[in-house]
Symmetry: C2
Subunit: 333 residues, 2 copies
DNA sequence: GTGAAAGCGCTAACAT
DNA sequence: ATGTTAGCGCTTTCAC
């Protein structure tokens, strides 16, 4: 392992000068700087991140705290963030929030302990951003929240907004004359998605009756779960809804599959909308209406904002809103 | 931030004793150990990973190098590894191999530099495990390869084997009397998957003619790509295959969708098999035959083996084979 | 513009 | 069984 001492010796100076030169400190004469950097490159020098972090420098590490619920394609987001970071020479630590504030605080402590330059925290479900959390976040050079709706907090935010898309989905049902909307959703964690839909429906003078709400649970295999639920709950095929809003395409596809076996036509008898706009849905019969999460735009925004914050610590706090997009297809009526 | 000095002072001893006591060094009397650990807990002490790593200790960090090809649900694997690690109090760094040996070597250097306790490297596509790579891997306390087939290397391996499943897929076509098998696959990276299929087909006296091979490319939206490819290549619906093996369910679903528009029946006229056994496929019409990757078993094996290696450095080298499983459904004929 | 020296929080060899 | 001391590789005052 090559150290700054090795370089100093080769160049005939001290490690302090090398340290400065390598970080392009303008006080070091351009000439020595160039010489030192050349030697560093020749020796294939790589700064020891542990030492650098320990003495207060940057670690080129990022802490990512994401909600890795198994019923969501959330791993793909982790991948996006990781590959974006890698392009900047940054390596991300990745951990699961488990939608638990205590876990989040613990991991932030852990990240701080590891000297990460910045953190990205997804605020999902019922996590409340309290004082303790913001305090904890402020210790980092850069901290970014990825939220579901704009939070009134002095902190960089990427708002991953589903509101408008969900409203459009509801309107779509209404416009095609549906009067008994239903939902298939993991109740415990999608309170927000649910309530936006319900609110919009109510706003149009309708309601989502309790018997038309299917709680899918939060495990893997949401599709199978939905199918079983429908089968056991409506053995005769008489369903209490004429439209069904699902929190994932897999759920929607399973539901449609069951409806077909019951000779219930989609969308004529029951309109169905999924979520996440997965590739499979587009080619389903009927093509599945869904919501495009715009994940790539979200990861780009995260990458850009974290990077800017690190480069310009004094920039004013920023919020960037990425709106998911309702994709109307035949299944929605 | 609480340090071992703080604890030492509180307990009335030196930092060295605290350091030992906290790592349960048996030379420290049970009594002092207990006292020190109690105080540490009370003060909510957390060892500084950077300092610990710098002086040669463990960092409870894991380096994960995975092939994050955008046309694969590989992010889900990252998530699995991350959540498994988290349960052990380990935090993973996650990076993309980009299927490039230079990148892998660079990242391993980076991981070493960060003092990770162990690394997990997925060997995919055409990566060759050469001497330089094995050398680099040996510097870690624990190093594990996740390979596609058993590699004759003295190193812990989880073999994620697709061979048998692909053979079964081929046999399935043959048994249902197909004579003109085709494939839809990203050619550049799935040489192996391809050749296993081709070999098995040949073994049965048939062949996969070049015109029956669709190169899907390696970008996102493989389904859409496949659809467009079929449409432009066979505008009249006359296809040179009576069965189609696809490297992802999305591709298979898109293909079936196109076949339907051409009034080609699945599986009667063309049998189709996908890959990854995604939830959507099961509920497709016809239900999509596919290959279950057994990802959970793979992540469990990785977690277990890495952990064991760290706890017992002298264990003999081990290999664990996880076989993917062919899932026969109606689309396969 | 550069060097000397202290210190980040920990581990471990060497004392006692 | 515990204390002393010397690093680990870097950043950062403080001198000159």
């Amino acid at each position: 392992m090559v150290t700054i001492y090795d370089i100093a010796q080769k160049v005939g100076t001290t490690h302090a000068t090398v340290s400065r030169a390598l970080r392009n400190d303008q006080r070091i004469s351009a000439k020595t700087r160039a010489r030192i950097q050349a030697v560093a490159k020749r020796l294939n020098y790589r700064p020891n991140v542990l030492a650098r972090g320990l003495s207060g420098g940057r670690t080129q590490a990022l802490g990512v705290l994401w909600d890795f619920a198994p019923y969501m394609p959330s791993g793909e987001m982790a991948r996006r963030i990781a590959t974006d970071a890698q392009k900047r020479g940054v390596v991300p630590y990745i951990a699961d929030t488990t939608r638990n504030i205590e876990v989040i605080l613990g991991m932030l402590h852990e990240f701080a302990n590891r000297g990460v330059d910045g953190v990205v925290v997804q605020i999902s479900g019922s996590i409340e951003v309290n004082r303790e959390l913001t305090e904890s976040l402020r210790q980092f050079r850069a901290a970014m929240l990825v939220t579901r709706e704009e939070l009134d907090i002095e902190m960089d935010q990427v708002v991953h907004d589903r509101m408008r898309a969900v409203q459009q989905a509801a309107d779509c049902f209404i416009q095609s004359g549906r009067t008994r909307p239903g939902m298939a959703i993991p109740l415990s964690t999608t309170a927000k998605k649910l309530s936006t839909f319900v609110e919009e429906v109510r706003h149009c003078g309708l309601d989502v009756p309790p018997e038309a709400i299917l709680d899918i649970g939060t495990e893997e295999q949401v599709g199978r779960h939905c199918y079983e639920l429908l089968r056991s709950r409506f053995p005769d095929g008489r369903v209490p809804f004429d439209s069904l809003f699902c929190s994932a395409d897999e759920i929607a596809i399973a539901a449609i599959s069951w409806l077909k076996t019951m000779r219930i036509r989609v969308p004529e008898d029951v309109a169905v909308i999924g979520f996440n706009d997965s590739e499979g849905g587009r080619f389903f019969d009927p093509p599945l209406a869904s919501v495009d999460r715009k994940d790539q735009q979200v990861s780009e925004a995260i990458d850009r904002m974290i990077h800017q914050r690190l480069e310009h610590p004094d920039l004013p706090v920023r919020r960037e809103v990425i709106e998911m997009e309702f994709v109307r297809r035949r299944s929605a009526g």
